[in-house]
Every structure is written in C-alpha cells, then in structure tokens.
C-alpha cells in the first residue's frame, strides 16, 4: 500500500492537455470491463424500464424505493422500512439494493422486475450500514460500508449475492466512517472514509471532529487496500463522503466541511488513483453551506455537478475542473448521468435535466420527497 498525503494544492489544470485522448481510451475500457449492455437493459424492461432509482419519502413519513424514467414517470415504488439513503444496482440483473440511512441496519434486495423484495440484509451485531454499497463486476458479491461502532472502525461487509446474500465476512475500509463505495473499471473499489466517528446510541452526533482523519481508499476486487489519499493539515476536517468516477478514471469527491463553519474551503476534490489529488475551488461554493451532497460527471462532456441540499444549490465545473456556474434548485440532492446525455438532478418538485448548460425541469409526482442520491440504472 502506498500512502500519499495531500500537502498543498497542486495546479488543478495540470496535464489537462492529454485528457481528451485519455477520456476516449478510458470509456472504451470501462464499457468492456463492466460488460454492460443488452443483458441488463432487457432485464430492466420488465421492471418498467426505469432510468433511475432513488429513495423517497411521502408526507405520511413512509419510505420507498422508486424507479423513475428520464421523463419523470414513476414506474415502480416499493416500500422500505424507514428512510433510505442510496442504492446499488446489480450490473447483471434487474436487482437493486436499497440501503437504510445511517445508523440504519437494514438493506433490502429488490427484484425490480417483479417489484418484490427478495432478501433483507441485517447488519451484524455491533455494525450498522452507512447507506451505500457496490456490487462486484460479475454481480456475485456485494460490498457494504459499515460502522463497527464500539471499536470504532470502518469495515466493508461482504455478501454473497449468488447465495442468498449470505454474509461472507468483512475487511477494513481503511478509515473511520466509510460512506460511499464505488466500483472502478478494473474491478477494484474506491471508498470514501469520511473520518467521522458516530455511534447509534448518540443519535447523529459527530464524536471526534478535532481528531478526525478522512481519506480515499483504493482496494482491489478482493477488498485488499492498495492505495490511500488522506487529507491532512487544516483539511483533515473536510470529510470525503460521496464520490463519482470521471471519464478518464479520476475519482471526484464531494466534501463536507466539519471545521469552523465560517471558514470558506473547497468542497470538491479530484484524485487520480496512483497520481495526484487537487481541490477544485468554486467561487460559489459557500452557497452549499459547507455540505456537498452528491457528485456526478457528465459522460459526454466531463462536466462535474455537485449538489448542495442544505444550500439548495448545484455548482458546476468543466472537464478541466474549472468553475462553470451554479444553479439554485430547492433541496438539490441526487445527481446522475442521464440516459440521453447530460445530467439529471433530483430536487423539490421532481428533477432537472441539464445538458450543454441548458436546464429543463421535469416534474414528478408531487407527493414524493427525495432522499439523498439518484442512481442511474
């Protein structure tokens, strides 16, 4: 494992001249390694052909996993026990896992074609889920980010999706507070270890802010840690929570500042596995209220969108990481690549489609309030 420590902000525009070539190569490799295509699209057709799934709540405080089309049609809604956070989609089947919001202990496996729950995972004693998970490339193994809260330590739970989601074991996540996990094109994983110690008996209190350490950890497909990027110095309190993959293989991270709230800090980070990390400052980052929610990268242009549900704002960057405007969208939360190009964002009242800098509102059933993330199917 090579530990690389972030010391100062390098030139975020460095080496961008070769990005276009890298991007094309990367996209070809990514499609090949993920093996996506007709298998999943045919299977998802039976589930109403959703383009996205997301967790949602209704005014009666009931919680749901919802399938949405790009046009805002709700093609399925399946009840879940309490608030969800994110979901993971099996790359080989029309199957989604809805994860409980921290400190929830359930994850529900849903056959979206049948609209039925096929399995319910319960985190082991002394563990709770963090709301995210990722399948292996072959869809046979599910990795879940979990809190070993009495230790305290972050772990990745490993579940056998090919055997009724039997728990196989767990491995260290590389830090405290593992939040989003993302499968990489090479079959390995990136994990955002937010660094914040929490305990289910202490409600949602953050227990270690003065000493927290946050990092991006890279693991092989069997869960072995081989690389880490840690934020140090004053940035040790800039919690790395949500991540996306850009089109040249960088991990782009949405950060949540836990230091003095009046201090202005960048809330987006881009990290090249095995390479450099760079913060991406934005002149309107203060509108996010120190809380960057979801992040996604436009597959066509490389543009980056970072949502801020607390600040009801989305900030944008171009493929070179340069600020590219912002937009006000009430409780802007989830963001994901749209199937017909551009990005789709969930917010109050429905969704917004953004392509080539043009935003188009997409109303959705008004009785649904989204929970944090939008997952492209």
């Amino acid at each position: 494992m090579s530990a690389r420590i972030w010391m100062s902000r390098p030139d975020s525009a460095r080496a961008m001249g070769t990005n276009a070539m890298k991007r094309r190569h990367f996209l070809a490799g990514a499609c090949a390694s993920l093996g996506l295509g007709s298998i999943t699209s045919q299977a998802w057709a039976a589930a109403g052909a959703p383009d996205f799934i997301t967790a949602a709540n209704r005014a009666d405080l009931s919680s749901w996993l919802v399938g949405l089309t790009r046009h805002g049609d709700v093609v399925f809604d399946i009840p879940i026990p309490s608030r969800g956070h994110a979901a993971a989609v099996n790359p080989r089947a029309p199957e989604a896992v809805a994860f409980a919001r921290r400190p929830g202990r359930f994850a529900i496996i849903i056959d979206c074609a049948a609209g039925q729950e096929v399995a319910r995972l319960q985190s082991p004693k002394g563990r709770h889920f963090y709301g995210h998970g990722a399948f292996s490339s072959d869809g046979k193994t599910l990795f879940t980010t979990e809190n070993n809260f009495d230790a305290p330590a972050g772990v990745l739970g490993i579940w056998d999706a090919s055997d009724g989601y039997r728990r196989l074991g767990e491995v260290p996540s590389g830090g405290i507070g593992p939040h989003e996990i993302l499968r990489l094109p090479d079959g390995g994983f990136a994990v955002a270890n937010g660094g914040i110690q929490t305990h289910p008996e202490m409600a949602r209190a953050k227990l270690n802010l003065p000493t927290m350490q946050t990092n991006l950890t890279y693991l092989s497909d069997n869960g072995t840690i081989h690389d880490q990027t840690e934020l140090t110095g004053v940035m040790h309190q800039n919690s790395i929570r949500h991540i996306a993959l850009d089109d040249i293989g960088n991990v782009v991270a949405a950060l949540q500042w836990q230091g003095p709230p009046t201090k202005q800090v960048p809330l987006v980070l881009r990290n090249t596995p095995g390479g450099q990390a760079a913060f991406l400052p934005h002149p309107d980052q203060a509108r996010l209220k120190n809380y960057a929610g979801s992040v996604a990268v436009c597959p066509q242009t490389g543009d980056i969108a970072v949502t801020g549900p607390k600040g009801s704002t989305v900030i944008y960057f171009d493929a070179d990481g340069q600020p590219h405007g912002w937009a006000h969208h009430s409780t802007a939360s989830g963001v994901a690549p749209a199937p017909d190009g551009g990005l789709t964002i969930t917010c109050d009242g429905g969704m917004v489609h953004r392509a080539n800098g043009v935003e188009t509102p997409i109303p959705v059933s008004p009785d649904l309030a989204w929970d944090n993330h939008l997952i492209a199917v």
Partner: protein, 342 residues
C-alpha cells in the same frame, strides 16, 4: 389502570392547550434569544463547577484540602454537565466534548484501560492537563475522576491533571458558545447567508430535538442499560455507580430540560403546556427520589425495581407530552428531507 389517566389527559390536552395564549406562529428569533440565555446559565454553571473541582483537586493533592471537598465538587460538576449532555452540536461537537467529558456508556472499559495507561506514566505527565488533553477521551472526563476517587488507585497527581483539563474544557465550551464569534453569534444571525442556520426556526428545531435526545438518554441509557431484564440486571452499567451520583444526575438532566421549556421556549407555547411539562418533570423527579435507593442498588429489590421500570414509562409519556404540547406549538415536528444531510 393508573396509566390510563395520563393517556386520557394527553388526548384531551392539545385542544385545551391550543385555546390558550400561545401565538399561532412562534417568534423563533425570540425563542433563540431566550434559549441562549438558558444555555449561558447552564454552560456557565458547568464551567464554574469544573473550575472549582480543579481547585479542590489541587488543594487535596497538596494536602491542604479534603477528599470530601473534591467529591462534593465532582458531584456539582457532574450534575452541571447532565443537562449539557443533550446538546451534541455546536461547541460540544466541534470540541468532541461528548466523549471527553463523560465517556458513557463505556461498554469496552475504555476509561479503565486509558486510566491504567496514564497511571503508568511519569507523575509529571499525570499531573499535566496538557498531557491529559492529548490522551484518550476515556481518561479526560468525569468517569475517570470518579475512578481515581472511588477505586483503589493512586489518586494524585493524575487528579490534578484530569480536573485541570476538565476545567479547560468547561471554559472552552463556554467560550465556544458565547465568545463574540462563538456559536451563539451564528444562532443570532440566522438567515440565508448564515453557513449553519438558514432561519431562526432551525435552531428551535435543533434544541427541541436535543430535548428528545435527552429523554432517550435518560430512558434507554441511564436507566435501561443497568435495568437489563428481571432475570439479570447490570448495576455496574449505571452511570456514576461508584460515587452514588446516579439518581442526582437523572434529576439534574430533567431539571435542565424543564428549564429550556420554561425559560427558553417560554411564551412561544401556552402556559398550560409549560405547566404540564413542568408538573410531569417534577413528578418524575419525585419518583426518582421515591425509589428508596440509588438506581444500581435498587435493581435486586422487586419493589424498588418496579419503581425504576415505571420511570421508563413516565419518560416515554414525557416524550409524548413534549411532542404534543411543545413541538406542535413550536411548529417543528419532524419531516424528512435530503437537507437533513448524511
């Protein structure tokens, strides 16, 4: 049968309370100002008692004070902390004081292990508050001080180091709230440009949520953990069982809750609702006294155990009252939003 009466009152009271003298829309700015006054008092009290504890410890370790003086100061400090335990945001969160001041519950004996490690260090380090501040959270707070005083351990100079650090924490927490650029200033400047509170209502909701957490801590942790089952109880899981302060801490936490409702929320809720909360808190405090022993010692006595169990019922009922007679009037009932964060 007795439980039916309060439940019936709960059902009837909202309509009664609505007709009383609370404004239809709370003035959340005024609520914030009043709550801050309460917090000023509560955090100031903790700061002062932690400082006095440090002074008593220094005198005791020099041979010019008494152990009783230290024990009494510990009791004052712990009961001053009890209401603050619920405010796990702002300076307490920023300074990680929830664990450093009171590592409870301590399922894995972090306090004992950290104290053991400390007592193996040179005495100059044991007595240095700066060394303690850089040590494990388990060794920094009230439970560690209690062990030094009530277990067969070398008390000094670690007592000086730990109490000195605790006095520093008490001062830092107060400053964190009430210095010119402290958390209270953030509360008072709530609005669209505020990095934390986009409206004064958000602080009201935060405090209201904290009171609910306070009840949960009382019912589930401070009472529920030692209570266990009828077949097996766990007296040593009670908070402060060594010093016998368990019941006093329960009462102090309840009093702190009542103070926020009475003096903080005050006229934002009807007089009848405030009276209802105050009366129920007083009843629970009386019920704690009526157990007849400290909670850990009551668990093996069937009659006393029943009194402890009934406290949990009363606390659940208090939460219901809070929801219906405080939350409803403050217009801060829970809703789901991605803006809740995670």
């Amino acid at each position: 049968m007795k439980r039916l009466i309060p439940l019936a009152i709960v059902c009837l009271m909202p309509a009664m309370a609505m007709s009383q003298n609370a404004p239809s829309t709370p003035d959340h700015k005024a609520v914030a100002d009043r709550v801050l006054s309460v917090l000023d008092h509560q955090f100031g009290t903790f700061r002062d008692h932690a400082s006095a504890l440090s002074d008593q410890a220094a005198l005791f370790c020099k041979g010019s004070g008494t152990r009783e003086g230290v024990v009494n100061a510990l009791a004052d400090t712990w009961t001053a902390w009890a209401p603050l335990d619920a405010y796990q945001f702002g300076p307490i969160e920023a300074q990680a004081a929830a664990l450093t001041v009171n590592f409870f519950p301590d399922k894995k004996n972090f306090v004992g292990r950290a104290l053991s490690t400390l007592l193996k260090q040179p005495e100059s380090e044991q007595g240095d508050p700066a060394v303690i501040a850089a040590s494990s959270a388990g060794v920094q707070g009230l439970p560690a001080i209690e062990r030094l005083l009530f277990e067969d351990l070398q008390t000094c100079p670690a007592l000086i180091g730990i109490t000195g650090n605790l006095a520093r924490i008490g001062s830092d927490l107060y400053t964190g709230w009430f210095a010119p650029d402290g958390w209270a200033a953030l509360v008072q400047t709530a609005g669209p440009n505020n990095p934390v509170y986009l409206s004064p209502e958000e602080f009201t909701r935060q405090i209201y949520t904290a009171l609910g957490f306070s009840i949960q801590r009382l019912r589930d942790h401070r009472i529920g953990r030692p209570l266990g089952s009828y077949e097996r109880n766990f007296p040593k899981r009670a908070e402060a069982w060594r010093s016998g302060l368990t019941n006093e801490i329960l009462r102090a936490q309840l009093a702190g809750l009542a103070e926020v409702v009475e003096n903080g929320f005050a006229t934002a809720i009807p007089d009848a609702s405030r009276t209802l909360i105050a009366d129920n808190v007083a009843d629970i405090e009386t019920q704690i006294t009526a157990i007849g022993a400290t909670l850990p010692k009551a668990l093996d006595n069937p009659q006393m155990r029943f009194r402890v169990e009934s406290l949990q019922t009363r606390l659940t009922y208090l939460q219901t009252l809070l929801d219906q007679h405080v939350g409803a009037h403050l217009d801060v009932e829970a809703g789901f939003s991605a803006g809740d964060g995670d």
